[in-house]
Structures are given as C-alpha cells and as structure tokens.
Symmetry: C3
Subunit: 136 residues, 3 copies
C-alpha cells in the first residue's frame, strides 16, 4: 500500500533546522510497519538526518558548509540568481533531496539522537514543498 502526502513547511532562515515534528504534523497517520520516503521538491535546499539534541550541531553544520563552498568561488558562472545560489545547488546535492526512514510500531524508527534536518541554502528560500510517500 502506497500513500502520498504533499505539503509545505514554514519558511526557514539560511542554515540547518530540525523539522521532524513539523514533517510529522503534515502526515495524517503512520502505519504499524512500513517505510517513509521524504522528498524535497527543490534544488537549493536539502534534507538529511542528524543530531536532534544540541543546537550547536546545527550551527556548526552551517559554518562548515558556508566556508566549504564560498559564494565568490572564482570559477562559478551561474551567478545571476545571486551569489548564494550556486553554492546552494551544490550543497543540496551533497546533503541530498530524499530520505528513507523505517516505520516500526507506528513510529519513525530512528535512533535516539536522530532527527530530520532541513538544509536551507538560500538567504530567502521561501516555503519549501515536500512529498511524503508511505509504503506499508
């Protein structure tokens, strides 16, 4: 059985954000056993799983990725959408645009410290759109 839900999250600022609870509020119900495929319909934001406890993990992600792909990278030609755009595209592909998470006993079967991160790589990315597919 395959169920689909399409929804938007609220707008987030540049950086990484823990969105597990907001994602789950957009999915009416989880089956007892199955799998969740979460997909983000954008090319300048990504989703990943990481630590859900200490907010400095989120800010350290932002610092590291910001330094890693500088906005003034001299070889970038795709600059007319802003200097944050091309770094955002690359970060989105490195972090990824889909997640596959097991569902067990009616809950996401993640580790104790795991949560869903949104990586917002534009300065004004707006509300991002998602598709959740549940297979059970």
């Amino acid at each position: 059985m395959v169920q689909q839900y399409e929804f938007s999250l609220k707008e987030y600022s540049y950086g990484f954000h823990l969105v597990t609870e907001e994602v789950l509020r957009n999915i009416p119900s989880l089956p007892k056993e199955g799998v969740l495929n979460l997909f983000i319909k954008h090319t300048s934001a990504g989703i990943t799983i990481n630590e859900n406890a200490d907010s400095t993990v989120l800010s350290d992600f932002r610092s590291f990725f910001r330094d890693w792909i500088p906005e003034n990278y001299p070889k970038f030609e795709h600059t007319y959408e802003g200097t944050d755009d091309m770094p955002a595209h690359i970060k989105a592909s490195v972090i990824g645009q889909s997640l596959t998470i097991p569902i067990t006993n009616g809950r996401l079967n993640m580790g104790t410290w795991q949560g869903i991160y949104l990586g917002e790589f534009r300065y004004s990315g707006g509300r991002r759109r998602f598709v959740a597919i549940i297979i059970s």
Copy 2:
C-alpha cells in the same frame, strides 16, 4: 506491486549531465501513484537531482568537484587505475548512487526546476548501467 527495469544510458563525457528524459525512455510506463527508485551499478559515477534549466549549473558542478578532490592528492594510494579513479570513487559516494522520486498522476513528481543528473567522474567511463524499481 514492484516492477524492475535494467538498462544502460549512452556514454557521457567527464562531468555532470541532465538525463531525466533518457532515463524515462528506458522505463516502459509509470503507474498513477507510486515511487521510483533509481540505482546506478557503478562506483565511479553517481546520480543526483539538481537544476534542469541552465547548463552553467552543470559546468559549475564539474569545476567545483574537480577542484575539491585533486587528482594528485598526495595521500592517495589507489592510483593504478588512473589519477581520475580515486577522486571518482569519493565523488560517487558523496553524490550518491540511488534516488527515490515520487510518482503522482503518472509522472515523476519533481519540482519545476528539478532534473536527474548523472555525475560521470571518469574520463572514459563507458556506458553506465542502471536498475529502476517502481513501487505502486
């Protein structure tokens, strides 16, 4: 219901290439609702999703990844298959070797600007082989 299709794409040059249409031509039909798992059977090429409109995004991806993992990286020991080989392995794992894309109303439910990229990280990678799994 799970359907499988195995196929090769044509040979691509070193760099990133938009392959959405060529992938779809190798999948006989999409269900009304479901999910596509696309898998590349190689360790020196990868697949990701990114912008389908401006070709400078593709060339900027190539420039950035080429600089990021230099072919003459002094600590690399795995060099007997060519200096492009070890950087290709790492890039393949960073970009990823599978995609999960929702299918809605008989079409891939990607965002307006999303397309499937092949990252060809060898200079002569040959034709790459894929498995598409459709769950509906």
Copy 3:
C-alpha cells in the same frame, strides 16, 4: 509486502569498512524480486556503496575525509563530546544514512565492483544498529 529486520554489526574502528556480507547474514532471506532499504540509526556513522576489491580505496576514503573536516576546525562549537564528534556528524550526513538497493533473482543487484561500506567516524563508536526493510 514489507519485512523488517533490526540488528547490530560488530564494532569497527575509525574509517571505512566493507560490510556487505555481515549485513546479509543479518537478513534471513531475500525475495526473488524487490528492494532493500538499509538504514543506520546513528548520527556519527554513515553507509554508502563503493569498490569492494582493493582495500586502498577504503584507506584513501579515510585519509581524504579526515583531512577534509579537521578536528580542530576553529569555528566548531560542538566540541564537548570530543574533537572527533562534530566532524563525524558532518561526514555522516554527507555519506548518508540510508541505502536503497535493488533485489533481483534473490540477490542484491549491485554492480560487480560494488559493496556496502560502513563509514565509522568516531574513534570508539561501538556497535552500530541498523534497520533493513525489504519491499517485494
């Protein structure tokens, strides 16, 4: 049909390790056709697919990733769990925490040179826990 198996692997040292056979020993049986979703329940280790033949590929992965995210990165604030912790979180998200692999004729349908890698990014990560979901 969706089947689930949860298990731990033995403890691995810091670096990359080929774990295909050990993963398969923890999954009672594969269907004739389907797909395997493998998920790691941690935020400081990751899983990816890469070359299964030459062990220098594994050690070159370790060297490159160790240099790429230095433990003494000056902007990191999340340091109280050890200097290896924050680099481990970022590497885990870059490598990824789930894999989707086709199953054909009762076997994982990977390429000849593909194997499942565990990226252990802590110095003492302990035994890592996984969920395997098989859809057929």
